[in-house]
Amino acid sequence: MSFEPNILTFCCNWCSYAGADLAGVSRFQYPANIRIIRVMCSGRVEPAFILEALNDGADGVLITGCHIGDCHYIDGNKNAEIRINNTKKALAKLGFDKRLRLEWVSASEGARFAEVVKDFTEEIKKLGPNPVKEVKINE
């Protein structure tokens, strides 16, 4: 059986979640590997969420938010950008940075949402399963 990754996706309520919705309504095909969690703003996503997801065996974490300048809360996505980039640098020390991605998807970009998910899923498939899953807890 081929490897089907589990990708945790955080969508902001105002743009990306609507974008994902539009992708569904418009019947764009995208891989069913993502699990969406809706948050009010991409700035809500804490580094701890990402690390915990990876720690618990998620193969990838995708964070989507409004384009810079379009944030419903004015500058929430700017904060998100700083935070996610810092988390990425921290993950790079563990050799894990490719499993995290931040993308901007607006409410009208259903096709782009499908494309982002497709692209990220392909990349995770190339990387293979999360090595954390193989570690036995009581080792």
Binding site: E46, E52, L54, K93
Partner: protein, 347 residues
């Protein structure tokens, strides 16, 4: 008999009266021992405990409250860890991955009997980017000072020391980290491991079983002063002071650098805690404690407050950088190594 000697507690309540958390909340070490001993209950107090080490000093029955807390926390999960537990999650992830390390650049210096470990300064820089402290400077300053003292240490590819996960009750993660780090350290053939972080120092010295000697960097800094006249005060981190009994070395290093040392109202064994050891509690109660601590520091009239623990450094600076506090406090909070290295450069 448990290692904590908790059965001997006769409920005098001295621990509760000295507890720094008691000043700001309803925490009671006495009642958490009572509830555990008599009823076998968990209390929230075992999680609000700062593990600062004040109460064991006062206890007439030599109850080791720290071991008690460590035993009680083991295997349980607390939801309100400061910063959502981002550092312990990082440590957990690190413990499971081969080839990951805290240290970006491994430095192999041949024939060196010394190794230096900077701790998690890089991760602190990334996750606490908004507190206005350059944590990386601690590592570079330490290296500068050690080189100045004629020591060219190796930098080993160690993982996190596991201090935070140990005190947060994640024993399985801690055991994995210990297994890896002990192997790397013992195989490297060094004789002395030098640490600049008080928490790493405590962990490597007391919770690991290592062949090399574990030494805090302050013991190497006596000759590095630049005869710079200034008034400073020293904040004893609980890990360096009460846990390891190291009060004099940092003070001597400061005096040798020409600084005039003024002590705060609570110092050495009675030093008040910054409130966030092992990233457990960064909330309004512990913030009240940090306000008390900065008030004491301000009252000494010193312009610089020196400490050697990254947690103290981050959280005291975080408070100081708040708008209202910035008007009130006119004091810099810097790490010991950073303070001395800056003098060395200015010379």
């Amino acid at each position: 008999m448990a290692a904590s000697n908790v059965q001997s507690c006769y409920q005098c309540g001295k621990c509760t009266s000295i507890c720094p958390m008691r000043r700001v909340s309803k925490t009671s070490p006495r009642s958490s021992i009572y509830n555990s001993n008599v009823y076998g209950l968990d209390t929230k107090d075992i999680w609000t405990c700062l593990t600062c080490g004040l109460c064991p000093q006062e206890c007439p029955q030599q109850v080791d409250f720290l071991s008690f807390v460590k035993e009680e926390r083991e295997g349980k999960k607390y939801e309100e860890i400061a910063h959502k537990g981002v550092f312990s999650e990082t440590a957990a992830l690190m413990s499971k991955l081969n080839g990951s390390s805290v240290v970006t650049q491994e430095q192999k210096s041949e024939n060196s009997n010394y190794a230096y470990f900077p701790g998690c300064v890089d991760f602190l820089d990334l996750f606490l980017h908004d507190v206005g402290v350059n944590f990386g400077e601690i590592a570079t300053s330490s290296m500068k000072l050690l080189n100045h003292a004629g020591i060219k240490p190796k930098i080993l590819p160690l993982k996190c020391c596991g201090h935070d996960v140990l005190w947060q009750g994640k024993k399985d993660v801690f055991d994995r980290l210990v297994k890896y780090n002990t192997k790397v350290i013992n195989d490297s053939g060094i004789e002395t491991l030098i640490l600049s972080c008080a928490e790493c120092y405590r962990t490597f010295a007391k919770d690991y079983n290592l062949k090399p000697k574990v030494v805090h960097i302050s013991e190497f800094l006596k000759g590095t002063g630049a005869n710079h006249k200034s008034t400073v005060t020293f904040h004893d981190p609980c890990r360096l002071g009460r846990h390891m009994g190291q009060y004099d070395a940092p003070r001597e290093a400061l005096k040798a650098s020409g600084a005039e040392l003024v002590e705060m109202a609570h110092n050495k064994g009675d030093a008040m805690c910054c409130g966030v050891s092992s990233f457990m509690n960064c909330n309004e109660q512990t913030k009240a404690m940090r306000v008390l601590r900065l008030d004491e520091a301000q009252a000494t009239g010193a312009k610089t407050m020196i400490t050697t623990c990254t947690k103290c450094l981050a959280h005291l600076n975080c408070l100081k950088n708040e708008k209202e506090a910035a008007k009130k406090y006119d004091i810099d909070i810097v790490d010991l190594t950073v303070y001395l290295a800056r003098q060395l450069e200015a010379k």
